[in-house]
């Protein structure tokens, strides 16, 4: 008497390795559509929140109803800085001047956030100056990625808001899909755009939580919007998420539909080509449940291997995109892989329905017919 079990699903699927490879590659690439686009938007969220994530401020104050920086305008009178300073529990205050403009070098130009900050404290300035130093009068700090794209370096000149600035330093992590960041002295900014502030940054005294400080500032300045740093980051990320949600939904549906067609095609072919074998298995006493499990296992194998391939491909494609265009960051996150995996398993289940129907109905007498 023979013992042991025959892994029918796996053997059936991988009997023809080329066909299995084509099928898994088809599923994998379909899921790459979902993962890469998700990665692009996750990367964009990471990039656009870089300034506030790395800020030392516990609380950000903005014009009423302004909760973000990207695609946003905020203007508050210069006195707002002193008003925040007078709130109990505030350790330090910094006014930040900000607008959106273009940074130009020769014929090349990039859209940029322009930050005007107090270089004496550096609190509202760049998190890290990788090369050079903070700007003096008539000088500017440009992000490293943007400097490479514009073909400029320290000591060279760029134009912002119609004025020329000499590059004194290069900062990092300030360029995203849409724009870059440049930093000038707050006095230079005021000379170009007036004395108002876009945001006021505040640090809490020891023993005062960021939430408590935000409550106190909001109470003292009701005509402003006060947010803690994590809340400001969350609101900024939501711009990308909300604007990308529809595009993501469309691409995900298409990606999953393609994966569904590929898995369905593979299972259908693999099952129908082996109906006689299924008949033999049924003649040997296997119930419909066992046969159904075999088909379901084939679907699971196709989807699981396709997902593994998709993750690997997405990381490779993401790295390639990052190398080709440093302003685009692709982040393939575990949560995204999990969501895609759940979706892929669901489509695997749907794809298995038609072959399941055929297998369940197979006549055991098929085993004794001529092929």
């Amino acid at each position: 008497m023979m013992t042991g079990r025959v892994p029918l699903a796996r053997k059936n699927l991988f009997q023809d390795r080329r066909r299995a490879a084509l099928s898994i590659a088809g599923v994998g690439f379909a899921l790459v559509l979902v993962l890469v686009l998700d990665g692009v938007f996750a990367g964009a969220m990471h990039q656009v929140t870089a300034y506030m994530r790395t800020s030392p401020a516990d609380v950000f104050v903005a014009q009423k109803d302004v909760r973000t920086m990207h695609m946003s305008q905020s203007a508050m009178p210069a006195e707002t800085v002193d008003a925040v300073r007078n709130v109990d529990g505030v350790a330090w205050v910094e006014g930040l001047r900000y607008t959106t403009a273009a940074v130009e070098a020769g014929d090349d130009r990039l859209l940029t956030y322009v930050f005007g900050y107090d270089t004496a404290t550096g609190r509202a300035g760049p998190k890290r100056i990788a090369e050079g130093r903070a700007p003096a009068a008539g000088e500017i700090v440009v992000d490293t990625t943007a400097a490479e794209e514009l073909g400029v370096g320290i000591g060279e000149t760029v134009s912002v808001l119609g004025q020329s600035f000499r590059i004194s330093g290069l900062s990092t992590n300030g360029t995203n899909m849409v724009n870059t960041t440049v930093f000038v002295r707050t006095e230079d900014f005021a000379n170009m755009r007036g004395t108002s502030y876009a945001y006021v940054l505040a640090g809490a005294e020891p023993g005062v939580s960021a939430d408590e400080l935000a409550r106190r500032v909001a109470s003292a300045l009701p005509e402003t919007t006060v947010q803690t740093r994590p809340e400001f980051v969350r609101q900024e990320a939501r711009i990308v998420r909300d604007m990308a949600a529809d595009v993501m939904a469309i691409m995900s549906v298409i990606g999953f539909l393609i994966a569904l067609a590929v898995v369905g095609l593979t299972l259908f072919t693999a099952t129908l080509g082996k109906l006689r074998e299924y008949g033999v298995v049924k003649a040997l006493g296997a119930g419909s449940g066992r046969l159904a499990a075999t088909v379901a296992a084939q679907a699971a194998w196709s989807v699981a291997l396709g997902l593994v391939l998709a993750v690997v491909l997405s990381v490779v494609v993401g790295a390639a995109i990052g190398a080709l265009t440093p302003n685009v960051e692709v982040l393939v996150k575990p949560g995204s892989v999990f969501r895609t995996g759940v979706g892929a398993l669901a489509i695997g289940g749907i794809a298995a329905l038609l072959p399941l129907r055929r297998v369940v109905r197979v006549d055991p007498a098929t085993a004794f017919r001529r092929p």
């Binding site: 690439f29 014009q63 302004v66 508050m76 273009a102 899909m177 067609a261 590929v262």
Partner: protein
Amino acid sequence: MPPRPGTIKIGTVHGAVPLARRNLLADPRRLAASAGAVGLAIMLILLLDGLWAGIKANVTSYEDNVDADLYVAQPGTRNFYGAISVLPTSTVDTVRADPDVDWAVPVRGFFSIVELHSKKIATFVVGSVPGGRGGAWDIAKGRAPATDDEVAIGKVMANRHGLSVGETIDIMGRRFTIVGTTSDAFMASFAFMTHAATDALLSAPGTTSFVLVGTDRPDAVRARLAATGLAVLDRDELAENDLALMTRAWGVPMRVMVGVAFVIGSLVIALTAYTAIAERRREYGIVKAIGARGRYLVVLALRQTLMIATAGLAAGGLLFLAGRVLITSVRPQFVVLATSGSITRAIAAALLMGAVAAVIPARRLARLAPATAYRGG
């Protein structure tokens, strides 16, 4: 007469057997599933191309409709969207003083994020002088704003968030009454209001963003105004620069998506043709045994993959039409256009997919031993 490639003439029997077609049509369900999958890949390429064409057509909607010959802005300004120009309103008088200027009006424009139903909505706020040019050009319902607490918003935003004329909306801490609905910007909604209202929103009285100019002699006016240090751009320059801005953000991800769609289409075609050939290897063995040469077999594989590609192309066209209707009805902010260029590119992509996909089935056929014909199964 030699048989056509992909068909074979057997012995003394006259007439060619369309082997490739018969092989594929032997299992219509498989062909349909394959055409559907390839069609989805083609649809994706068409949709991305169509979205891109829609972006191009939509990104200049303001410039296309306000009918200005020139845009005067702060030195260094190159875009209508994105970069914020600030000029003293006295610039309007400077421009009007030019003898060839027919009309000149101040317009302020800037992006703002509005929160509606817990969603962040991008709006492009345009402030203009009531009754003057540069404001809403296409009022669908209601009227253009006349006072500083009135606004006309894009139809898409109004419909999607259930906002009607007479209701209110908060923008940057101020409450506005919606008096009209109008056109939309690319992936954002216009919010037209008075220039004075934007002065208050930005706490920037006495300033504007652009001076729109009407003139019959744009070159001469441009030269004179540029000599004063102002930035002067025409509609085409603004359109080109705004498009370049969008390209920077979306160009690479779009190209990657198209590339992935192409690979998927090729893989599905290859999978279908390969499976069809593998299942009938005995018949192909017979064909080889009676003298078919390598070139015939390659052409046979190519015919099959091109037939699947053609079926996929047809399915892709239908899916695109259905998908476009669905997307633009559910999400009207997307404009998806079908251009002759996008259709040509889709056809070229399908044919190329068919050609690339023929490699693996052709290799399978080339390696097939004629003795297969005499084996069982």
